[in-house]
Symmetry: C2
Subunit: 318 residues, 2 copies
């Protein structure tokens, strides 16, 4: 229909969906296209859908773990805005056995408990196919940190380590058991809400995003929204010990760590904040003039990364 190529990639499709749905609104301070929308009155809201066979499989993780993961992923969008979670809503579709819905709900509840919020609504349906968990995260903020605040001269930072979740998926896809540390990165994404809030409040995050589709893919989104180029020093990228592979750290998704740009000279304050919050914060690059993302290795060799990031429309199970 409408000349849309069947191979339309996820980014293109999202752009298309946004352009169809969005036409401005007085009630809305920040519309679609960032990690979450920001409404008049300070409400921040986002929705995140996980589909069995695409985002998770029940021979990889239990229904309760899948629910936790979906809840944590939804909350991560609030963290990336510097917002404080207030409530979750959960829509579930499950095959014949309703106990799967119960286990999924328990997992989402646990993710809510971790950040102090309850599930205030939702929906449940039978599914003739995969299980589906769609979690709506509602939060509040006085101001939000968008993807568009990157400016030339800023540093680029990430929290924690990257590539663990992708390493787990790689192992499962090869029919082997993942390293337990990698498995945990997939099944239980970290809570970065306190960090996102602290960075926002202290003015240490100018642009911010959660790394859901891979460092390179998400850095490219920040670069695009900010109208800048992001240079990544690949030698500085904190590779998860459960991954042990730089490519997984660069291109693998679903780690739900935060990437942010910070004012020049803020390094010592950021490191102190990280120590205080017991989260490793690593400077991995800088913001330059230009567009897109460039990778630079320890010897100063440059490369343009591949498309980067997991594309849910590229086919196959992750």
């Amino acid at each position: 229909m409408d000349g849309i190529p069947p191979a339309l990639d996820e980014n293109e499709l999202v752009r298309r969906l946004v352009s169809i749905g969005w036409r401005g609104s007085r009630a809305v301070r920040l519309g679609p296209g960032d990690d979450a929308a920001f409404l008049r009155g300070g409400l921040v809201i986002s929705t995140d859908m996980a589909v069995e066979g695409v985002h998770f499989r029940f021979d990889w993780i239990s229904p309760e773990e899948a629910g936790f993961r979906a809840g944590a992923a939804a909350v991560s969008d609030l963290a990336a805005m510097g917002a404080v979670p207030e409530a979750l809503l959960v829509s579930l579709a499950v095959h014949g056995d309703p106990s799967v819905a119960v286990e999924l709900q328990r997992g989402v509840r646990a993710a809510g408990d971790r950040v102090g919020v309850a599930i205030i609504g939702g929906d449940v349906s039978r599914s003739p196919g995969p299980a589906v968990v769609d979690v709506v995260a509602v939060g509040r903020a006085r101001t939000v940190v968008t993807r568009g605040g990157g400016e030339v001269g800023q540093g680029v930072w990430v929290s924690g380590s990257l590539g663990g979740a992708a390493a787990a998926v790689t192992a499962w896809s090869a029919g082997t058991e993942p390293d337990p540390r990698a498995r945990k990165r997939f099944a239980a994404p970290p809570d970065r809400v306190p960090l996102g809030l602290a960075l926002s409040t202290a003015g240490l995050a100018c642009a911010m995003i959660d790394i859901s589709d891979g460092l390179v893919a998400d850095a490219r989104r920040v670069a695009g929204a900010s109208g800048v180029r992001i240079r990544v020093d690949t030698g500085a990228v904190p590779v998860d010990p459960g991954a042990g592979d730089l490519n997984l750290a660069l291109e693998g998704g679903e780690d739900y760590e935060l990437m942010f740009t910070a004012p020049p000279g803020a390094g010592s304050r950021i490191r102190a904040l990280g120590q205080e919050m017991a989260v490793v914060l690593t400077r991995i690059g800088r913001v330059e003039e230009g567009k897109g993302v460039v990778l630079e290795d320890d010897r100063g060799r440059h490369s343009a990364p591949g498309r980067g990031g997991y594309d849910h429309f590229a086919g196959g199970t992750p």
Copy 2:
């Protein structure tokens, strides 16, 4: 798991999910269990999931119609609270062809346009099975009309007519084409936002619900939440001309009309409001002491209705 019978019905499952997810919250004025949740600050929020093969089929209606229907159903939950819509979010899962996502989004957008709101966020994923549309409706209200306001002596009213959507599903399921009026009732649920708001503002709705699972099933919810019995005069129930079958009007779901209870003696004000808003409002019964729903025909014969309402876990396609 946990001794949950595989045949757990939808109401039982919903109760179970609510009890898992809900534990009170200072941020929340009304938690799960009604048509929508109500937050401190006046926000009203609900989510409504439609699954291909359960709620709709693409050989019945087009993707754009399915999107419209999902959007209208989500907005209907706000209408039933007397809230004013402010924004929608849309999560989509589709098979290989992303153009289906585009058409679904167009349909949801049209449902948003009808009530003056945009789509401010969402998510999209590939689905290895059915298409899924989950619509989050966000609105505002100063006060909300819950399901729990029914009191003995009140009248019970419905908007519009009932059974049309179920008549369309019945025809499709029998391999025939539905009456065009019934088809329209399924594909394009009415906008009852202005009515819900007017009834709430005028104090004419004490308890209110949108009829999504059938008059009897939804009346039973109001009776349960209010701690009363609802007596329905079956001869008064407005049967949709596209249905022509009282049972469909009593038991068939998905009409998305409003059912409400009103103060004694409010009949003439309600009829005047209906005339002003060009919506037929019909008194179909009354609130009594007791519990559940009883049906009474024109000759005064009573009957206890069946379980009533469509159960998405009862198996089979609607």
